[in-house]
């Protein structure tokens, strides 16, 4: 059975999975048509797997922001794989590629792709550079967790940016969860301290903490973040249980440095890849997963509170290669009819 067929089978049969796959496909339409149509173009143009083919493939990946090093590694592995399996027909290469991509994501521990919850209070800290979508993602995640029956509290840890507290406050009202806040300009570590205390005394399940956007090369701001992190761990051993780095899908190679630096300072446990509803591919997450072993946990597919989906490597690739699936299925059916 082909790889795509396996995927398809995995998702049919399951109503819920099917639905979210649809939503995923919808959000990824632009991404998919960009990426997959290019792959299909390739398939159409080349009947043989030769150097020209690899070169074009390389360009497709580079244009998805995967980054030079990772693309080179991937190409080497693909060449090897193609040689080993003796794949001559380009259309089969398509499935080798997607298998390879999924493999990168699934390398290592599979369960690190999911949120980790503590037995009592779970603390989730959001970090990232300016304007990537931290606050919006927090609202989306709160909405999601609330729908799962959890009680959620938010902490307005961005005391710096104009209107940041009001922004989270408005989201809190929309989602229907409380927000712990102080006035603009106050110490974010103090806000966290308050919030952790409030979360404990109210006995909520999850506390999600917003922080101000900061560029990773600002030493003072990174120190401030470290302090925020420290205050939380001091109040609750083992917390924060998740540190999620919001990453804008339009970001180029700097994302790798972002991931590395934020990881050093706050021990990032996962990525929320935002704005994937645009035309950018966010391919740099491949490099990040590959080099820093940080998994993507969620993807943002719009500005509304239900526009957040758990990241699923297979679904992601499925979305990217959906057209490929249909094509291959047709082929298989045609063969079966013979």
């Amino acid at each position: 059975m082909s790889f795509f067929k396996k995927l398809k089978d995995k998702f049919s049969g399951n109503q819920e999975a099917e639905q979210s796959t649809e939503k995923y496909k919808e959000g990824l339409t632009k991404t998919r048509t960009g990426f997959t149509s290019k792959i299909n173009d390739l398939v159409a143009r080349y009947r043989k797997v030769d150097e020209d083919f690899f070169e074009e493939l390389e360009e497709v990946l580079l244009q998805a922001d995967v980054g030079f090093e990772t693309v080179m590694e991937l190409m080497d592995q693909l060449r090897f794989e193609v040689q080993r399996k003796n794949v001559k027909d380009t259309s089969n290469v398509q499935s080798v590629i997607s298998e390879k991509l999924v493999e990168i994501y699934e390398a290592g521990d599979a369960e690190i792709n999911e949120l980790k919850f503590a037995d009592d209070l779970t603390v989730i800290l959001f970090v990232g550079v300016n304007g990537v979508g931290k606050t919006t993602s927090i609202a989306k995640l709160a909405h999601r967790l609330k729908n799962e029956g959890k009680t959620v509290l938010l902490a307005a840890g961005d005391t710096f940016r104009a209107g940041a507290i009001e922004q989270l406050d408005i989201w809190g009202k929309r989602v229907g969860v409380d927000v712990i806040k102080q006035s603009e300009g106050s110490d974010p570590a103090a806000v966290m301290y308050d919030a952790v205390r409030a979360a404990k005394s109210r006995g909520v399940d999850v506390l999600i903490c917003d922080t101000a956007g900061r560029l990773q090369n600002k030493v003072n701001l990174m120190n401030e973040l470290e302090k925020v992190h420290r205050v939380i761990s001091r109040e609750i051993p083992g917390a924060p249980h998740e540190v999620l780095l919001a990453l804008d899908a339009t970001t180029g190679q700097n994302a790798l440095i972002q991931a590395q630096t934020f990881k050093e300072v706050t021990n990032v446990t996962g990525i929320v890849l935002t704005k994937l509803d645009g035309t950018a591919k966010g391919g740099i997450v491949l490099a990040i997963r590959n080099k820093l072993k940080i998994p993507v946990k969620f993807v943002g597919l719009g500005e509304q509170m239900d526009d957040l989906q758990p990241f699923d490597a297979q679904k992601y690739v499925y979305g990217l290669f959906a057209e490929g699936l249909d094509k291959e299925e047709e082929l298989e059916n045609a063969e079966a009819d013979k």
Binding site: K30, E59, L62, Q63, A64, D65, G67, F68, V129, N130, G131, V132, G133, F160, R161, A162, G163, A164, E166, Q167, D169, I170, W171, R174, E184, L215, Q216, N217, K218, V219, D248, T250, T251, G252, Q253, N254, A255, L256, I257, Q260, K275, D277, G278, T279, A280, K281, I284, K291, E303
Partner: protein
């Protein structure tokens, strides 16, 4: 994990070429491959890179690169010049309307920095151009976007036209223009909501705002960290509403900023300003040459050279250069050179501007050990005149004496002697380069980095 700059990347090739004494076309090709890598890593769009490399290759192959003593440096220079040309001259000029008020529209993707830049721009227009700006809160979608602009207006003591989130952005903008006329506010800055370039409804909204009164400027605000997609974003916004210029934000980060080149080459619109921080005064003019250096990872050589030029005595510099050339550079000259460098300002500042400095971990907090320089000074002062001019004679006995005399160790003395040798070699190369080309004088700052090892 900071990326290597082009100069470092070219090191390998250059070394090999130096050994061969002659540069083949294949070498140029190899160097161009490095150029391609460097540009892609800097986030320049792949298609733009291809065109660029083709153009530069043509220029490089035809030129004296082949005979030059330091072909690597020549290539870097050609690449940098070409990049600089492509990004256009300095153009932070703003168009003002003859018929009041001037209308400036800020557009772009979500989170790019439109609201912040609107505030910065308003502040700048008041300060530098004596304008009376009105900020317009036309983002009715993002929660608290209106409050954000109101807060910024308060910080700047500038008026903000806001009507909450019930009216449409087009209606708000229309009223704002009327209000500005009535209140004699001569510049209207419309802060629009972030939107995807593929969102047709929202792009239509921009067209409707634009139709109210033809804006004198439509600035596309772009995050400097944007990757390959920058071309699509810029192209779509430009085609839909016709931008007049670009503001590149968050350049205070450590991104290379190749998006600048991508945007420029697909829209042909000038980058007018750069955002250098979150505060309201962090808006600067765009300098293509600095941007080119940055994209190539060459450090802020320009500022360094500017600093050097204001501090280094021209005549002395000439004299020194002559000495490099004839290899009659002595430890006395070394001391003098060091003192000139000292005059340029705090060394840690200078160090940060050096190419490759961004690769050094913790450079932000780096403190140059000025006492190290004191040690160097002491060592040199403990030398005899003969030793200063012909350091070759400094044998182990002399080393012991010098160390003792200067209160340092033999290792310190050895290190300095080694550095001096290295430096002399390097100077010879540098002056060789300066002389091979139209006799153009170069500011020399040999071995600066080796002082701090």
């Amino acid at each position: 994990m900071a990326f290597e700059g082009l100069a470092e990347r070219l090191q390998g090739t250059i070394q090999r070429i130096k050994g061969k004494g002659k540069v083949s076309e294949a070498d140029v090709k190899e160097m161009m491959r490095e150029v391609r890598f460097a540009l892609i890593e800097a986030d320049v769009n792949l298609k733009v890179v291809k065109e660029f490399v083709k153009k530069v290759s043509e220029r490089a192959v035809g030129q004296d690169v082949m005979e030059s003593l330091t072909p690597g440096q020549q290539v870097v220079k050609i690449v940098k010049d070409e990049l600089t040309n492509l990004m256009g001259g300095e153009q932070s000029k703003i168009e003002f309307a003859t018929k009041q008020p001037t209308v400036i529209m800020m557009v772009g993707l979500q989170g790019a920095g439109k609201t912040t830049t609107s505030g910065k721009l308003a502040g700048m227009l008041r300060k530098k151009h004596n304008r009376k700006p009105l900020l317009v809160a036309a983002d009715v979608y993002r929660p608290a976007a209106v409050q954000q602009l109101e807060t910024i207006g308060k910080q700047l003591s500038l008026p903000v036209f806001s009507k909450g989130t019930d009216l449409s952005p087009v209606e708000i903008s229309r009223q704002a223009i009327e209000y500005a006329k009535a209140e004699h506010l001569d510049t209207v800055i419309i802060d629009t909501a972030g939107r995807l370039h593929v969102d047709e409804n929202l792009m239509q909204e921009l067209k409707d705002i634009r139709a109210l009164k033809e804006p004198d400027e439509i600035f596309l605000v772009v995050d400097a960290m944007t990757g390959q997609d920058a071309v699509n974003v810029a192209q779509n916004f430009n085609e839909a509403i016709g931008i007049t210029g670009v503001v590149l934000t968050k350049l205070d980060g450590d991104t290379r900023g190749g998006a600048a080149l991508s945007i420029r080459s697909v829209t042909d619109k000038p980058i007018k300003f750069v955002g250098m921080g979150e505060k309201m005064d962090a808006l600067e003019a765009f300098y293509p040459e600095r941007m080119a250096s940055r994209i190539l990872g060459m450090g802020d050589m320009l500022s360094l050279i500017e600093k050097a030029q204001t501090n280094v005595d021209e005549a002395k510099a000439k004299e020194l250069e002559e000495k490099f050339r004839t290899s009659s550079f002595t430890f006395d000259d070394f001391l003098e050179q060091m003192n000139q460098v000292k005059q340029m300002g705090p060394l840690d500042e200078i160090l940060k501007m050096l190419p490759g400095a961004n690769k050094i971990k913790g450079i932000e907090n780096a403190k140059v050990d000025e006492s190290q320089m004191g040690r160097v000074e002491a060592i040199i002062q403990s030398m005899t005149t003969q030793e200063k001019t012909t350091p070759e004679i400094i044998n182990s006995n002399r080393r012991k004496r010098i160390a003792k005399g200067s209160g340092t160790t033999i290792q310190d003395v050895n290190r300095l002697l080694k550095q001096f040798e290295d430096m002399k070699k390097m100077m010879k190369q540098m002056s060789g380069m300066a002389n091979s080309k139209k006799g153009k004088k170069k500011m020399s700052m040999p071995g600066l980095d080796s002082l701090f090892k």
